[in-house]
């Protein structure tokens, strides 16, 4: 098994491999730094190595990436995390240096879960044609210590390409300017970030050949807009998660994925849809369990993704999450948090939050409220209740969880199919989301 350091040693030319600010490190210079890390106390042979990114600062991202290269094949385990995150405790370490990579999931609430990968499971979908790869320069927009960011780093390092680490990932304009000056031609980021890039009027400054989207539902409008903005680019939507790894990639310019993927596994990953409409994936490299021992797969090796899909013609389209979590531009919002706040307002009997599609950030929360019987039915009282609910949500919840819209309805109820049906003063409101957890009740 080749380790990361072997891949870098095998590079024949000495052109820059990693750019950061004014610094350009050749593969030889990267190896020098990596060996210095191996000689230090921070990365002991056969032990665990903690690698942490820090709030998007490029200096720290560079250190993190160099530490990963040093630790692979040297340390028994790498524990990756972001600033302020408590690393997982490992009860036992493997005795060989076939390094285990511990990555945190982007948990929706509470503590993240830790998943142990191998370099093989992390790199199974990478393109490693080094002659093609030599013409590609990736810009890093994700946290390198998360699954999506690590994919970009590994693709650049193993695929014979180079990598540009921005000075400060959180500074949007400066990052794009640095990518432009370093002639970045490949970017991977979320649909929300791509929309922001298109609206900022600076996308044209980049001459992109590879445009990759992931992490959120990619709609057809965005895919078409990206192809128009970058006519030379191959636009690819990647479906992946920390647990399942990369599921598949779609580059045909349409939302969702071809239904034939279920019969003819693409990229060696099997797919199936359960009776709830949930997508499941299976591959040989899927880790069996989380660090806490909880199983990731079922007995047959299938990973439940938590994503709901629906067959429309010859394609499957993504509908949302089985746990109703709403993805607001990459931030995960649990409806129950908003419903609980709404239910704490006197006069609210029932509350229900659903995802409303949005062209800018993908989805926003929309709240439906049924007043209690003691609330008068005239418009003024309803308007007052709506304002109070909104004010309470804005006072008690972070901005990303504020409902974008609050509607007072006469009655909130579930249809026989488990879908929300509410009768508002303006008429009937029905929801095609298909979620089954139902309506939250005031107590």
């Amino acid at each position: 098994m080749k380790h990361l350091i072997d891949h870098i040693s095998n590079r024949v030319d000495d052109s820059p491999l990693i750019f950061h600010g004014d610094v350009a490190l050749s593969s030889g210079q990267v190896l020098e730094r990596v060996n210095a890390i191996r000689s230090s106390d921070t990365c002991l042979r056969g032990n665990r190595c903690h690698v942490q990114s820090d709030n998007g600062q490029g200096e720290n991202d560079l250190d993190a990436i160099l530490s990963l290269i040093a630790a692979d094949g040297w340390s028994a385990a790498i524990v990756m995390g972001s600033s302020g995150e408590r690393p997982t405790e490992l009860s036992e370490l493997p005795t060989t240096c076939d390094t285990r990579w511990h990555l945190a999931t982007s948990g929706t609430t509470g503590e993240p879960k830790w998943v142990a990968h191998s370099l093989a499971s992390l790199t199974r979908s990478l393109k490693v044609d080094s002659s093609k790869g030599a013409t590609v320069r990736w810009g890093l927009l994700y946290d390198p210590c998360r699954f999506a960011g690590l994919q970009v780093v590994l693709q650049a390092l193993l695929g014979g390409s180079s990598l540009v680490i921005p000075s400060d990932r959180t500074n949007f304009i400066q990052t794009v300017s640095e990518f432009q000056s370093h002639r970045v031609n490949a970017l991977s980021t979320t649909p929300s970030y791509w929309r922001k890039l298109l609206m900022a009027g600076i996308a044209e400054n980049l001459d992109l050949r590879l445009v990759t989207l992931g992490g959120e539902i990619a709609d057809a409008t965005l895919l078409v807009a990206l192809q128009e903005a970058f006519p030379q680019a191959r636009v690819t939507h990647i479906y992946a998660s920390t647990e399942a790894g990369v599921g598949f990639a779609v580059s045909d310019g349409q939302a969702g994925f071809p239904a034939e993927f279920l019969d003819r596994p693409a990229q060696g990953v099997e797919l199936k849809v359960d009776e709830r409409g949930q997508l499941l994936v299976r591959s040989q490299e899927t880790p069996a369990s989380y660090a806490d021992g909880t199983s990731i797969t079922d007995r047959q090796g299938w990973v439940p993704t938590g994503d709901l899909v629906e067959k429309r013609g010859d394609r499957y389209c993504f509908l949302g999450r089985t746990n109703r979590v709403i993805n607001v531009g990459g931030d995960k919002v649990h409806p129950k948090e908003i419903e609980d706040v709404a239910l704490s307002v006197p006069g609210v009997a029932l509350a229900h939050v659903r995802a409303k599609s949005n062209a800018i950030v993908g989805q926003v929360p929309e709240l439906f409220v049924e007043p209690s019987s003691d609330v008068a039915t005239d418009d003024a009282d309803r308007t007052a209740l709506r304002e109070t609910v909104l004010e309470r949500c804005r006072a008690e919840l972070p901005r990303v969880k504020w409902p974008a819209k609050v509607t007072i309805v006469d009655e909130l109820q579930l249809s026989a199919a488990g879908k929300l049906v509410g009768t508002s003063p303006q008429g009937t409101v029905s929801n095609g989301d298909g979620f089954k957890e139902g309506v939250s009740h005031a107590v």
Binding site: S192, R195, K196, L198, M199, A200, G201, T221, L222, V224, A225, E228, V328, G329, K356, S357, N358, A359, I360, V361, V364, E366, R394, R399, V400, W402, A404, K405
Partner: protein, 100 residues
Amino acid sequence: MNSIRKEIELCLRAGIELAGLESPAELNDETRLLETGLDSLGLAMLVVDLEDRLGYDPFTLMKEPVYPKTFGQFVQLYERFSEHRRAEHRRAEHPQSENS
């Protein structure tokens, strides 16, 4: 100032104030949308707010994808679909006259 532009500007400034963001000194056609003071989340909320007030969301009606870059382009998008909706209403109410 026409009514759609006025409505958008009012909603935009209200959104900026609500989010505790900094309001731009001047808002004109050339002002970049992401420099109006609203961030992506604020713009997302603005689109929902305007759908409530104007009765349509041009982003869901458009056939060709458009991502406006300036405040002027954003207003134009709403104006274009307002005109489009009025024409559709006229066609629905007077199908004969439109066809003749």
